[in-house]
Protein backbone atom coordinates (compact mmCIF):
# COMPACT_ATOMS: atom_id res chain seq x y z
CA UNK A 1 0.00 0.00 0.00
CA UNK A 2 1.53 3.31 -1.08
CA UNK A 3 1.73 5.82 1.65
CA UNK A 4 1.22 9.35 0.63
CA UNK A 5 4.11 11.56 1.63
CA UNK A 6 3.29 14.56 3.76
CA UNK A 7 4.15 17.90 2.31
CA UNK A 8 6.13 20.35 4.40
CA UNK A 9 3.14 22.69 4.54
CA UNK A 10 0.83 20.06 5.96
CA UNK A 11 3.56 18.84 8.29
CA UNK A 12 4.07 22.32 9.74
CA UNK A 13 0.36 22.65 10.37
CA UNK A 14 0.33 19.39 12.29
CA UNK A 15 3.47 20.04 14.32
CA UNK A 16 1.74 21.78 17.23
CA UNK A 17 -0.75 18.96 17.65
CA UNK A 18 2.13 16.51 17.32
CA UNK A 19 3.94 18.28 20.19
CA UNK A 20 0.90 18.22 22.46
CA UNK A 21 0.12 14.62 21.44
CA UNK A 22 -3.20 15.42 19.88
CA UNK A 23 -2.58 13.59 16.62
CA UNK A 24 -3.96 10.15 15.96
CA UNK A 25 -1.59 7.27 15.38
CA UNK A 26 -1.46 7.34 11.63
CA UNK A 27 -0.86 11.05 11.32
CA UNK A 28 1.70 11.06 14.11
CA UNK A 29 3.61 8.30 12.30
CA UNK A 30 3.60 10.24 9.08
CA UNK A 31 4.77 13.41 10.77
CA UNK A 32 7.56 11.53 12.46
CA UNK A 33 8.63 9.95 9.23
CA UNK A 34 8.59 13.32 7.42
CA UNK A 35 10.46 15.16 10.12
CA UNK A 36 13.23 12.59 10.04
CA UNK A 37 13.79 13.31 6.38
CA UNK A 38 13.21 17.09 6.31
CA UNK A 39 15.62 19.49 8.02
CA UNK A 40 13.30 22.49 7.79
CA UNK A 41 10.45 20.71 9.44
CA UNK A 42 12.87 19.36 12.06
CA UNK A 43 13.94 22.90 12.78
CA UNK A 44 10.31 23.99 13.05
CA UNK A 45 9.58 21.16 15.44
CA UNK A 46 12.53 22.18 17.60
CA UNK A 47 11.31 25.80 17.73
CA UNK A 48 7.86 24.81 18.76
CA UNK A 49 9.20 22.51 21.42
CA UNK A 50 11.44 25.18 22.92
CA UNK A 51 8.65 27.74 22.82
CA UNK A 52 6.40 25.31 24.62
CA UNK A 53 8.95 24.82 27.35
CA UNK A 54 9.40 28.59 27.69
CA UNK A 55 5.72 29.14 28.02
CA UNK A 56 5.46 26.40 30.59
CA UNK A 57 7.94 28.34 32.73
CA UNK A 58 5.94 31.51 32.28
CA UNK A 59 2.77 29.80 33.39
CA UNK A 60 4.34 29.10 36.78
CA UNK A 61 4.04 32.74 37.85
CA UNK A 62 2.08 33.09 41.04
CA UNK A 63 -0.20 35.89 41.97
CA UNK A 64 0.41 37.80 45.15
CA UNK A 65 -2.09 36.39 47.70
CA UNK A 66 -2.93 39.84 49.01
CA UNK A 67 -3.69 41.02 45.56
CA UNK A 68 -5.80 37.96 44.95
CA UNK A 69 -7.83 38.60 48.09
CA UNK A 70 -8.20 42.19 47.13
CA UNK A 71 -9.63 41.16 43.78
CA UNK A 72 -12.03 38.72 45.35
CA UNK A 73 -13.22 41.08 48.11
CA UNK A 74 -16.69 42.48 47.50
CA UNK A 75 -16.85 46.13 46.65
CA UNK A 76 -17.83 48.38 49.58
CA UNK A 77 -18.87 51.18 47.30
CA UNK A 78 -22.53 51.96 47.04
CA UNK A 79 -24.33 52.21 43.77
CA UNK A 80 -24.07 55.98 43.89
CA UNK A 81 -20.36 55.80 44.49
CA UNK A 82 -19.96 53.43 41.59
CA UNK A 83 -21.96 55.77 39.38
CA UNK A 84 -19.50 58.53 40.04
CA UNK A 85 -16.50 56.40 39.19
CA UNK A 86 -15.74 58.41 36.15
CA UNK A 87 -13.08 56.18 34.69
CA UNK A 88 -15.23 53.10 34.92
CA UNK A 89 -17.89 54.51 32.67
CA UNK A 90 -17.98 53.26 29.08
CA UNK A 91 -16.29 55.63 26.71
CA UNK A 92 -19.39 56.55 24.65
CA UNK A 93 -21.38 57.26 27.80
CA UNK A 94 -18.57 59.31 29.29
CA UNK A 95 -18.11 61.32 26.12
CA UNK A 96 -21.85 61.95 25.85
CA UNK A 97 -22.02 63.14 29.44
CA UNK A 98 -19.02 65.40 28.98
CA UNK A 99 -20.49 66.94 25.84
CA UNK A 100 -23.80 67.56 27.61
CA UNK A 101 -22.04 69.24 30.51
CA UNK A 102 -20.05 71.48 28.19
CA UNK A 103 -23.13 72.36 26.15
CA UNK A 104 -25.14 73.24 29.24
CA UNK A 105 -22.36 75.42 30.63
CA UNK A 106 -22.09 77.26 27.33
CA UNK A 107 -25.87 77.74 27.21
CA UNK A 108 -25.91 79.14 30.74
CA UNK A 109 -23.12 81.56 29.97
CA UNK A 110 -24.85 82.75 26.81
CA UNK A 111 -28.17 83.23 28.58
CA UNK A 112 -26.55 85.20 31.41
CA UNK A 113 -24.68 87.33 28.94
CA UNK A 114 -27.86 87.99 26.94
CA UNK A 115 -29.75 88.97 30.09
CA UNK A 116 -27.04 91.35 31.16
CA UNK A 117 -26.89 92.86 27.72
CA UNK A 118 -30.66 93.35 27.56
CA UNK A 119 -30.78 94.66 31.09
CA UNK A 120 -28.21 97.35 30.41
CA UNK A 121 -30.31 98.94 27.70
CA UNK A 122 -32.62 101.77 28.68
CA UNK A 123 -35.94 100.42 29.76
CA UNK A 124 -38.70 101.29 27.36
CA UNK A 125 -41.68 99.83 29.07
CA UNK A 126 -42.06 102.15 32.04
CA UNK A 127 -45.07 104.39 31.75
CA UNK A 128 -44.43 108.02 32.52
CA UNK A 129 -46.47 109.78 35.15
CA UNK A 130 -49.41 111.88 34.03
CA UNK A 131 -47.56 115.06 34.97
CA UNK A 132 -45.21 114.48 32.07
CA UNK A 133 -48.18 114.65 29.73
CA UNK A 134 -49.20 117.90 31.34
CA UNK A 135 -45.83 119.46 30.66
CA UNK A 136 -45.70 118.29 27.10
CA UNK A 137 -49.01 119.55 25.83
CA UNK A 138 -48.98 123.14 24.67
CA UNK A 139 -52.59 123.97 24.03
CA UNK A 140 -51.82 127.19 22.30
CA UNK A 141 -49.72 125.62 19.70
CA UNK A 142 -51.63 122.48 18.96
CA UNK A 143 -53.45 122.46 15.67
CA UNK A 144 -57.15 122.91 15.78
CA UNK A 145 -59.10 119.73 16.14
CA UNK A 146 -62.00 120.81 14.04
CA UNK A 147 -64.63 118.30 13.09
CA UNK A 148 -64.57 116.88 9.64
CA UNK A 149 -67.90 118.54 8.95
CA UNK A 150 -66.07 121.79 8.47
CA UNK A 151 -64.01 120.21 5.77
CA UNK A 152 -60.35 120.32 5.22
CA UNK A 153 -60.44 123.74 3.67
CA UNK A 154 -61.37 125.11 7.04
CA UNK A 155 -57.93 124.41 8.28
CA UNK A 156 -56.54 127.04 5.99
CA UNK A 157 -58.28 129.68 8.00
CA UNK A 158 -56.40 128.75 11.06
CA UNK A 159 -53.16 130.30 12.19
CA UNK A 160 -50.33 130.15 9.76
CA UNK A 161 -48.76 126.84 9.40
CA UNK A 162 -45.45 128.47 10.12
CA UNK A 163 -46.71 129.38 13.53
CA UNK A 164 -47.66 125.86 14.23
CA UNK A 165 -44.98 124.32 16.24
CA UNK A 166 -43.02 121.59 14.67
CA UNK A 167 -44.01 118.36 16.25
CA UNK A 168 -40.43 117.65 17.11
CA UNK A 169 -40.04 120.94 18.96
CA UNK A 170 -43.21 120.26 20.80
CA UNK A 171 -41.70 117.11 21.92
CA UNK A 172 -38.76 118.74 23.61
CA UNK A 173 -39.95 117.85 27.06
CA UNK A 174 -41.11 114.60 25.65
CA UNK A 175 -37.62 113.67 24.64
CA UNK A 176 -36.91 113.04 28.24
CA UNK A 177 -39.63 110.55 28.39
CA UNK A 178 -39.32 106.90 27.57
CA UNK A 179 -40.52 106.09 24.07
CA UNK A 180 -43.68 104.12 23.76
CA UNK A 181 -43.28 100.41 23.43
CA UNK A 182 -46.09 100.33 20.87
CA UNK A 183 -45.16 100.74 17.25
CA UNK A 184 -45.69 104.24 16.05
CA UNK A 185 -47.46 103.15 12.89
CA UNK A 186 -50.28 101.50 14.82
CA UNK A 187 -50.72 104.58 16.94
CA UNK A 188 -50.80 106.77 13.87
CA UNK A 189 -53.35 104.52 12.22
CA UNK A 190 -55.55 104.56 15.29
CA UNK A 191 -55.34 108.31 15.57
CA UNK A 192 -56.06 108.97 11.92
CA UNK A 193 -59.35 107.21 12.21
CA UNK A 194 -60.61 109.93 14.53
CA UNK A 195 -62.68 112.63 12.90
CA UNK A 196 -61.27 115.38 15.00
CA UNK A 197 -57.54 115.00 14.64
CA UNK A 198 -55.64 116.54 11.80
CA UNK A 199 -52.64 115.13 10.06
CA UNK A 200 -50.34 117.57 11.76
CA UNK A 201 -51.54 116.52 15.13
CA UNK A 202 -50.89 112.91 14.27
CA UNK A 203 -47.20 113.62 14.42
CA UNK A 204 -47.50 115.55 17.63
CA UNK A 205 -49.70 112.97 19.17
CA UNK A 206 -47.23 110.35 18.22
CA UNK A 207 -44.87 111.98 20.64
CA UNK A 208 -47.70 112.75 22.95
CA UNK A 209 -49.08 109.26 23.01
CA UNK A 210 -46.30 107.74 24.94
CA UNK A 211 -48.63 107.18 27.81
CA UNK A 212 -51.52 106.24 25.59
CA UNK A 213 -52.30 102.66 26.36
CA UNK A 214 -55.40 100.64 25.98
CA UNK A 215 -56.18 101.44 29.59
CA UNK A 216 -55.94 105.24 29.29
CA UNK A 217 -58.22 107.42 27.22
CA UNK A 218 -59.24 111.03 27.19
CA UNK A 219 -62.67 112.54 27.01
CA UNK A 220 -64.25 115.29 24.97
CA UNK A 221 -67.32 117.21 26.11
CA UNK A 222 -69.44 118.22 23.17
CA UNK A 223 -72.59 120.28 22.83
CA UNK A 224 -74.46 121.42 19.74
CA UNK A 225 -77.39 123.78 19.87
CA UNK A 226 -79.22 126.47 17.95
CA UNK A 227 -79.82 130.03 18.92
CA UNK A 228 -81.55 132.89 17.29
CA UNK A 229 -79.04 135.55 18.19
CA UNK A 230 -75.82 133.98 17.07
CA UNK A 231 -73.78 137.11 17.58
CA UNK A 232 -74.96 137.77 21.09
CA UNK A 233 -74.68 134.20 22.20
CA UNK A 234 -71.22 133.90 20.73
CA UNK A 235 -69.96 136.93 22.59
CA UNK A 236 -71.66 135.79 25.75
CA UNK A 237 -70.10 132.38 25.55
CA UNK A 238 -66.71 133.86 24.91
CA UNK A 239 -66.98 136.00 28.01
CA UNK A 240 -68.26 133.13 30.09
CA UNK A 241 -65.55 130.76 29.00
CA UNK A 242 -62.87 133.27 29.69
CA UNK A 243 -64.45 134.06 33.00
CA UNK A 244 -64.22 130.40 33.92
CA UNK A 245 -60.52 130.29 33.01
CA UNK A 246 -61.16 128.54 29.74
CA UNK A 247 -58.61 128.76 26.95
CA UNK A 248 -58.76 127.82 23.34
CA UNK A 249 -57.64 124.25 22.74
CA UNK A 250 -57.01 124.61 19.07
CA UNK A 251 -55.62 127.15 16.70
CA UNK A 252 -58.88 129.00 16.17
CA UNK A 253 -60.15 131.61 18.53
CA UNK A 254 -63.09 131.11 20.75
CA UNK A 255 -66.29 131.62 18.87
CA UNK A 256 -64.74 131.20 15.49
CA UNK A 257 -67.28 132.20 12.94
CA UNK A 258 -67.75 130.43 9.76
CA UNK A 259 -70.82 130.79 7.71
CA UNK A 260 -73.90 130.38 9.81
CA UNK A 261 -72.50 129.27 13.11
CA UNK A 262 -69.79 129.69 15.64
CA UNK A 263 -67.37 127.19 16.98
CA UNK A 264 -65.85 126.94 20.42
CA UNK A 265 -62.96 124.61 21.12
CA UNK A 266 -61.45 125.20 24.49
CA UNK A 267 -60.02 123.66 27.60
CA UNK A 268 -61.56 124.34 30.94
CA UNK A 269 -60.68 123.54 34.51
CA UNK A 270 -62.73 120.56 35.51
CA UNK A 271 -63.98 122.28 38.61
CA UNK A 272 -65.76 124.85 36.44
CA UNK A 273 -67.59 122.25 34.41
CA UNK A 274 -70.81 122.55 36.46
CA UNK A 275 -70.78 126.30 35.94
CA UNK A 276 -70.50 126.11 32.18
CA UNK A 277 -73.00 123.33 32.12
CA UNK A 278 -75.49 125.48 34.01
CA UNK A 279 -74.83 128.34 31.66
CA UNK A 280 -75.64 126.16 28.68
CA UNK A 281 -79.04 125.40 30.11
CA UNK A 282 -79.86 128.97 29.40
CA UNK A 283 -79.69 128.11 25.71
CA UNK A 284 -81.77 125.00 26.13
CA UNK A 285 -78.91 122.53 26.33
CA UNK A 286 -80.05 119.87 28.73
CA UNK A 287 -76.81 117.89 28.87
CA UNK A 288 -73.35 117.77 27.42
CA UNK A 289 -72.21 114.63 25.66
CA UNK A 290 -69.05 113.05 26.94
CA UNK A 291 -67.14 111.12 24.31
CA UNK A 292 -63.99 109.11 24.47
CA UNK A 293 -61.11 110.70 22.69
CA UNK A 294 -57.53 109.65 22.24
CA UNK A 295 -56.30 113.05 23.30
CA UNK A 296 -55.67 113.04 27.00
CA UNK A 297 -55.95 116.29 28.87
CA UNK A 298 -53.84 117.20 31.83
CA UNK A 299 -55.15 116.26 35.17
CA UNK A 300 -57.82 118.68 36.30
CA UNK A 301 -58.58 119.96 32.83
CA UNK A 302 -61.26 119.01 30.38
CA UNK A 303 -61.77 119.77 26.74
CA UNK A 304 -65.01 121.00 25.30
CA UNK A 305 -66.43 121.74 21.87
CA UNK A 306 -69.50 123.85 21.38
CA UNK A 307 -71.12 124.08 18.00
CA UNK A 308 -73.58 126.90 17.94
CA UNK A 309 -75.87 127.35 14.99
CA UNK A 310 -77.80 130.47 14.31
CA UNK A 311 -81.53 130.04 13.88
CA UNK A 312 -81.58 132.60 11.02
CA UNK A 313 -80.16 129.81 8.85
CA UNK A 314 -83.44 128.04 9.31
CA UNK A 315 -85.31 131.00 7.89
CA UNK A 316 -82.99 131.17 4.93
CA UNK A 317 -83.59 127.47 4.30
CA UNK A 318 -80.03 126.43 4.68
CA UNK A 319 -80.81 123.35 6.71
CA UNK A 320 -80.15 122.48 10.24
CA UNK A 321 -76.67 121.17 9.91
CA UNK A 322 -73.41 122.69 8.92
CA UNK A 323 -72.81 122.19 5.25
CA UNK A 324 -69.62 120.38 4.36
CA UNK A 325 -67.63 121.51 1.40
CA UNK A 326 -68.89 120.24 -1.91
CA UNK A 327 -65.99 117.87 -2.37
CA UNK A 328 -66.85 116.12 0.85
CA UNK A 329 -70.45 115.53 0.00
CA UNK A 330 -70.94 111.79 0.02
CA UNK A 331 -74.73 111.69 -0.08
CA UNK A 332 -77.35 113.91 -1.65
CA UNK A 333 -78.23 116.99 0.31
CA UNK A 334 -81.53 116.77 2.13
CA UNK A 335 -84.42 118.71 0.65
CA UNK A 336 -85.07 122.09 2.13
CA UNK A 337 -87.74 121.88 4.77
CA UNK A 338 -91.23 123.10 4.00
CA UNK A 339 -92.58 126.25 5.52
CA UNK A 340 -94.58 124.32 8.05
CA UNK A 341 -91.47 122.52 9.22
CA UNK A 342 -89.58 125.77 9.46
CA UNK A 343 -92.29 127.26 11.55
CA UNK A 344 -92.31 124.23 13.82
CA UNK A 345 -88.56 124.36 14.20
CA UNK A 346 -88.62 128.05 14.86
CA UNK A 347 -91.11 127.50 17.58
CA UNK A 348 -88.98 124.81 19.09
CA UNK A 349 -85.97 127.10 18.95
CA UNK A 350 -87.85 129.92 20.63
CA UNK A 351 -89.01 127.58 23.33
CA UNK A 352 -85.44 126.62 23.97
CA UNK A 353 -84.42 130.16 24.39
Amino acid sequence: MLKKELSCFICRELLYEFVINELDGLRAERVTHHVEGCQDCKRELSSITQAKKYLNRLSNIQINPNYCHQLMAPSNKTIWQKMFLWKSWPDPLRWTFESLVVASVVAIIISLFAQNFVGSRPKTLKPTPPQATTVAINTDSLPDLTPSEFGEEEFTDHANDAELPHPVSMATPLDKRVPSPEPEESVVTAIKSSEEISDTEVVSLRKDSENLTSRETGYLYRASFRVTDIEGVTNELIDKIQQLDGKKAGSVQLGWRRGSGSYFHFSLPERNYPLISDHLKKYGVASVAKEKNPRIMPQGMIRMIFEVEGSDTIERGLGTKFEPPPDQIESPQPESPSSEELQNNEGAGLEQE
Binding site: I48, K52, N60, I61
Partner: protein, 150 residues
Protein backbone atom coordinates in the same frame (compact mmCIF):
# COMPACT_ATOMS: atom_id res chain seq x y z
CA UNK B 1 -19.74 34.47 42.61
CA UNK B 2 -16.21 34.41 41.22
CA UNK B 3 -13.94 31.66 42.43
CA UNK B 4 -10.30 31.95 43.34
CA UNK B 5 -9.28 29.87 40.35
CA UNK B 6 -11.16 32.19 38.05
CA UNK B 7 -9.57 35.20 39.71
CA UNK B 8 -6.08 33.84 39.25
CA UNK B 9 -6.69 32.81 35.67
CA UNK B 10 -8.10 36.18 34.71
CA UNK B 11 -5.35 38.04 36.50
CA UNK B 12 -2.67 35.95 34.81
CA UNK B 13 -4.25 36.45 31.41
CA UNK B 14 -4.16 40.22 31.65
CA UNK B 15 -0.71 40.17 33.14
CA UNK B 16 0.63 38.51 30.02
CA UNK B 17 -1.68 40.40 27.73
CA UNK B 18 -0.56 43.87 28.84
CA UNK B 19 2.58 43.49 31.01
CA UNK B 20 1.40 46.68 32.70
CA UNK B 21 0.28 46.68 36.31
CA UNK B 22 -2.34 49.42 36.31
CA UNK B 23 -3.92 48.37 33.06
CA UNK B 24 -3.88 44.70 34.03
CA UNK B 25 -5.49 45.55 37.35
CA UNK B 26 -8.28 47.56 35.72
CA UNK B 27 -8.91 44.95 33.08
CA UNK B 28 -8.92 42.17 35.68
CA UNK B 29 -11.51 43.94 37.79
CA UNK B 30 -13.60 44.71 34.77
CA UNK B 31 -13.51 41.09 33.62
CA UNK B 32 -14.30 39.71 37.06
CA UNK B 33 -17.25 42.08 37.29
CA UNK B 34 -18.55 40.80 33.96
CA UNK B 35 -18.12 37.19 35.03
CA UNK B 36 -20.02 37.82 38.26
CA UNK B 37 -22.89 39.42 36.36
CA UNK B 38 -22.97 36.78 33.66
CA UNK B 39 -26.31 35.02 33.65
CA UNK B 40 -25.61 32.55 30.87
CA UNK B 41 -24.70 29.03 31.82
CA UNK B 42 -21.12 28.44 30.82
CA UNK B 43 -18.28 26.29 31.95
CA UNK B 44 -15.44 27.93 33.81
CA UNK B 45 -13.21 27.78 30.78
CA UNK B 46 -15.86 29.18 28.46
CA UNK B 47 -16.65 32.02 30.87
CA UNK B 48 -13.02 32.96 31.36
CA UNK B 49 -12.14 32.80 27.68
CA UNK B 50 -15.25 34.73 26.61
CA UNK B 51 -15.01 37.52 29.17
CA UNK B 52 -11.26 37.90 29.02
CA UNK B 53 -11.61 38.34 25.28
CA UNK B 54 -14.41 40.87 25.89
CA UNK B 55 -12.42 42.89 28.42
CA UNK B 56 -9.23 42.69 26.41
CA UNK B 57 -10.96 44.37 23.47
CA UNK B 58 -11.92 47.24 25.73
CA UNK B 59 -8.51 47.81 27.25
CA UNK B 60 -5.93 46.72 24.68
CA UNK B 61 -5.77 50.13 23.00
CA UNK B 62 -4.39 51.59 26.19
CA UNK B 63 -1.56 49.08 26.40
CA UNK B 64 1.89 50.54 26.07
CA UNK B 65 3.86 47.28 26.06
CA UNK B 66 6.05 48.48 28.88
CA UNK B 67 6.57 46.50 32.01
CA UNK B 68 5.64 48.66 34.91
CA UNK B 69 5.69 47.57 38.50
CA UNK B 70 4.94 43.91 38.11
CA UNK B 71 6.31 42.88 41.48
CA UNK B 72 3.43 44.15 43.54
CA UNK B 73 0.76 42.02 41.99
CA UNK B 74 2.68 38.90 40.95
CA UNK B 75 5.37 36.73 42.39
CA UNK B 76 8.15 36.67 39.85
CA UNK B 77 11.11 34.36 39.95
CA UNK B 78 14.62 35.62 39.52
CA UNK B 79 15.36 33.83 36.28
CA UNK B 80 12.23 34.97 34.56
CA UNK B 81 12.91 36.50 31.15
CA UNK B 82 10.17 38.40 29.44
CA UNK B 83 12.10 39.64 26.45
CA UNK B 84 11.07 36.84 24.08
CA UNK B 85 7.51 37.36 25.13
CA UNK B 86 7.69 41.09 24.48
CA UNK B 87 9.28 40.36 21.14
CA UNK B 88 6.50 37.91 20.34
CA UNK B 89 3.92 40.58 21.17
CA UNK B 90 5.35 42.84 18.53
CA UNK B 91 5.66 40.17 15.83
CA UNK B 92 2.36 38.28 15.91
CA UNK B 93 -1.23 39.34 15.46
CA UNK B 94 -3.65 39.83 18.33
CA UNK B 95 -5.51 36.63 17.57
CA UNK B 96 -2.34 34.52 17.62
CA UNK B 97 -1.15 36.24 20.77
CA UNK B 98 -4.35 35.65 22.68
CA UNK B 99 -4.69 32.09 21.49
CA UNK B 100 -1.18 31.40 22.76
CA UNK B 101 -2.03 32.81 26.20
CA UNK B 102 -5.17 30.74 26.50
CA UNK B 103 -3.62 27.48 25.37
CA UNK B 104 -0.02 27.52 26.47
CA UNK B 105 -0.13 29.71 29.61
CA UNK B 106 -3.58 29.20 31.03
CA UNK B 107 -3.72 25.65 29.72
CA UNK B 108 -7.12 25.66 28.12
CA UNK B 109 -7.84 23.20 25.39
CA UNK B 110 -8.45 24.38 21.87
CA UNK B 111 -11.95 22.91 22.06
CA UNK B 112 -12.84 25.28 24.87
CA UNK B 113 -11.51 28.23 22.95
CA UNK B 114 -13.34 27.13 19.85
CA UNK B 115 -16.68 26.84 21.65
CA UNK B 116 -16.25 30.07 23.64
CA UNK B 117 -15.34 32.22 20.69
CA UNK B 118 -17.22 30.28 18.04
CA UNK B 119 -14.10 29.64 16.00
CA UNK B 120 -13.05 26.35 14.40
CA UNK B 121 -10.48 24.27 16.20
CA UNK B 122 -8.26 24.19 13.19
CA UNK B 123 -8.09 27.96 13.21
CA UNK B 124 -7.02 27.96 16.84
CA UNK B 125 -4.35 25.38 16.15
CA UNK B 126 -3.05 27.32 13.18
CA UNK B 127 -2.77 30.51 15.22
CA UNK B 128 -1.00 28.85 18.09
CA UNK B 129 1.35 26.99 15.79
CA UNK B 130 2.35 30.17 14.00
CA UNK B 131 2.95 32.01 17.28
CA UNK B 132 5.01 29.19 18.73
CA UNK B 133 7.19 28.95 15.64
CA UNK B 134 8.06 32.62 15.94
CA UNK B 135 8.50 32.43 19.70
CA UNK B 136 10.81 29.49 19.24
CA UNK B 137 13.03 31.58 16.98
CA UNK B 138 13.30 34.26 19.67
CA UNK B 139 14.01 31.70 22.35
CA UNK B 140 16.53 29.71 20.34
CA UNK B 141 18.75 32.70 19.47
CA UNK B 142 20.89 31.90 22.50
CA UNK B 143 20.80 31.15 26.20
CA UNK B 144 17.92 33.06 27.77
CA UNK B 145 19.19 36.21 29.45
CA UNK B 146 18.06 35.80 32.99
CA UNK B 147 17.54 39.24 34.46
CA UNK B 148 18.08 39.21 38.16
CA UNK B 149 15.54 41.21 40.01
CA UNK B 150 16.51 42.91 43.09
Amino acid sequence: MVTEAQTKAVSLFFFYAFLEEALANSATKHCLRQISKDKEIRTDADAIIYWTHYSWKKFFKKAKLVSIGLERMYVLSQDMDFEPWKQLRKEVSNDEYLATIWTCILGYHTNAISSALNITQGTINHRVSAALRKLGNFVSTGEPNAKKRA
